[in-house]
């Protein structure tokens, strides 16, 4: 009941927030950019062009998700709204799940609109995305949104104000998206050679951007680009239960981040 009310309010406020429209404009331009990149490719499956598109989405969407959503949570604290809500008989988990669901709907609407624009533009220009490509990009983006929303809830729970949330959001984005490969190479050079492969497989679980990328590229048939170190990941993704395992992993990540966020929020 309370989850539903909070989620509805979040959707209403989200669609009246000028920031949402700025990001919608940015994402629409971005998806048109993807259309231009895609128009250079004539091959099916995983290609250099697909990799470029996935990487570009990875740069933009996690940051956008973490900033929009963590700001929404810290605003509740800064404006005294949470303090008032806490005098209503509502649990912290209902509040955070409601915020999560509302934010997810707003962000999914923004990316769907963006891809819709590029789909229509492509049709008009005669250089359209294949429907399967558009669907693939949409699902890839939704996975990133849902996973990074969990992290955004954690940031919002830990930070007192928007400045703290901005700093933490950009730091996490830098760590997960930009610095991850370089950091891994540097850190793994300190461990015995035989540990590298299992460690690499384990740490991938802790970076949602990375495991979504590995899953997506593998499903497109490009798993070989990751090399033998990721063999086990590619093996289970390609197995009959690959999709189920991936969904389970995503749900586990979202549940874990929401659970920790709830605990952190209550301690504050």
């Amino acid at each position: 009941m309370h989850i539903n009310l909070i989620a509805k309010r979040e959707v209403k406020v989200g669609f009246r927030n000028p920031w949402a429209y700025s990001f919608m404009a940015l994402f629409s331009l971005f998806s048109l950019g993807l259309l231009v990149i895609q128009s250079q490719s004539y091959m099916k499956g995983y290609t250099y062009t697909t990799g470029t598109m996935l990487n570009l989405i990875l740069y933009l969407l996690p940051l956008m998700t973490m900033l929009l959503s963590s700001f929404s949570l810290t605003a509740e604290k800064e404006e005294g709204s949470w303090q008032l809500l806490s005098t209503y008989a509502m649990t912290t988990s209902s509040f955070l799940i409601g915020k999560y669901v509302g934010q997810a709907l707003v962000l999914i609407a923004i990316v769907s609109f963006g891809y819709g624009i590029s789909g229509v533009a492509g049709l008009l220009l005669g250089k359209s995305f294949a429907f399967s490509t558009l669907l693939f990009l949409l699902v890839f983006s939704i996975c990133l949104i849902l996973l990074f929303l969990g992290i955004a809830m954690l940031i919002g729970a830990l930070c007192r104000n928007r400045w703290q949330a901005l700093t933490m959001g950009v730091s996490i984005w830098f760590f997960y998206i930009l610095a991850w490969p370089t950091l891994l190479i540097s850190l793994l050079s300190f461990v015995p050679y035989t540990w590298i492969k299992p460690l690499l497989q384990i740490v991938t679980f802790f970076n949602p951007a990375e495991f979504v990328r590995v899953y997506s590229v593998t499903r497109l048939g490009g798993g070989a680009i990751f090399g033998p170190e990721y063999y086990k990941w590619i093996y289970w993704i390609d197995s009959a239960l690959g999709d189920v395992c991936f969904v389970a992993l995503c749900l586990l990540w979202i549940s874990a981040t929401l659970f920790i966020a709830t605990r952190a929020w209550e301690r504050r």
């Binding site: 209403k12 406020v13 009246r16 605003a75 709204s81 008989a89």
Partner: protein, 241 residues
């Protein structure tokens, strides 16, 4: 046997080894209106925040109609309406949407919210964004939010801040209606004339301690027409002596 009304027993609050509120006990009967008076930093807001469960008391217990926040949190909170001092409404929502949201959280209908908007004189502005409201209009909306579910205890932190004289009078009338309906009210204020006009009792606080707790009639008997102002002046001069 269930005790009706609010019972506060030896409650105190210490933060970082500093005592913000010294141990105090208090009883508010159903239909009683109590004003908390005192200067800045006297501990008024801390007491109110403990009553509504935002802050946990360091010592003591608080019970409302026989229920405590610790043991029956949901039932306890359902009997409370709270109006905070520092608050900004969520930008982007209209007055009607805002009040309907809070009404729904208390299982009240849109009609209840509409009725309350009329009571606080915001019905004509119901479709305006709250972010465009003046401070006084926001205070009235916040007050409506606190009383719309007819709670047993209404807790108001500086409710008359930003209200013009007309709405100050209207506030007094609305609190009198709450009293008639058997609802208890406790509010903090710097405006002693408001306390004088509407409260049955006034409690003076200084440095986190209750220094005087008497009925308005007792203050008037002692200080005549100046009433609470006389008591306040005496307490201040005693503190500076």
């Amino acid at each position: 046997m269930q005790t009706f009304g609010l019972t506060v027993d030896q409650v105190s609050k210490t933060i970082n080894d500093k005592t913000i509120v010294h141990p105090f006990s208090l009883r508010i009967e159903p239909g009683e209106v109590v004003a908390l008076c005192g200067g800045n930093g006297a501990g008024k807001s801390t007491i109110l925040r403990m009553l509504v469960g935002i802050l946990r008391p360091t010592t003591g217990t608080i019970q409302l109609n026989g229920m405590s926040w610790e043991e029956q949190r949901v039932d306890y909170l359902q009997q409370i309406g709270y109006m905070p001092d520092h608050f900004s409404f969520t930008a982007g929502l209209t007055a009607r949407e805002t009040l309907e949201f809070y009404a729904a959280l208390r299982n009240r209908t849109a009609e209840d919210a509409d009725r309350m908007l009329k009571a606080v004189g915001l019905h004509d502005a119901r479709n305006k964004r709250v972010s465009h409201f003046s401070k006084g209009m926001q205070q009235r909306l916040l007050f409506a939010q606190a009383i719309l579910a007819k709670p047993a205890l209404v807790v108001l932190d500086e409710p008359t801040n930003g209200l013009d004289p007309y709405w100050m009078d209207a506030f007094v009338d609305l609190v009198r209606e709450l009293r008639l309906a058997g609802q208890s009210v406790i509010f903090s204020t710097h405006q002693l004339q408001v306390a004088d006009a509407v409260a049955d009792r006034a409690i003076f606080l200084m440095n986190g301690q209750i220094v005087r707790d008497d009925t308005i009639d007792q203050y008037q008997e002692q200080y005549g027409n100046v009433g609470l102002y006389g008591a306040f002046a005496e307490l201040v001069s005693r503190a500076h002596a």
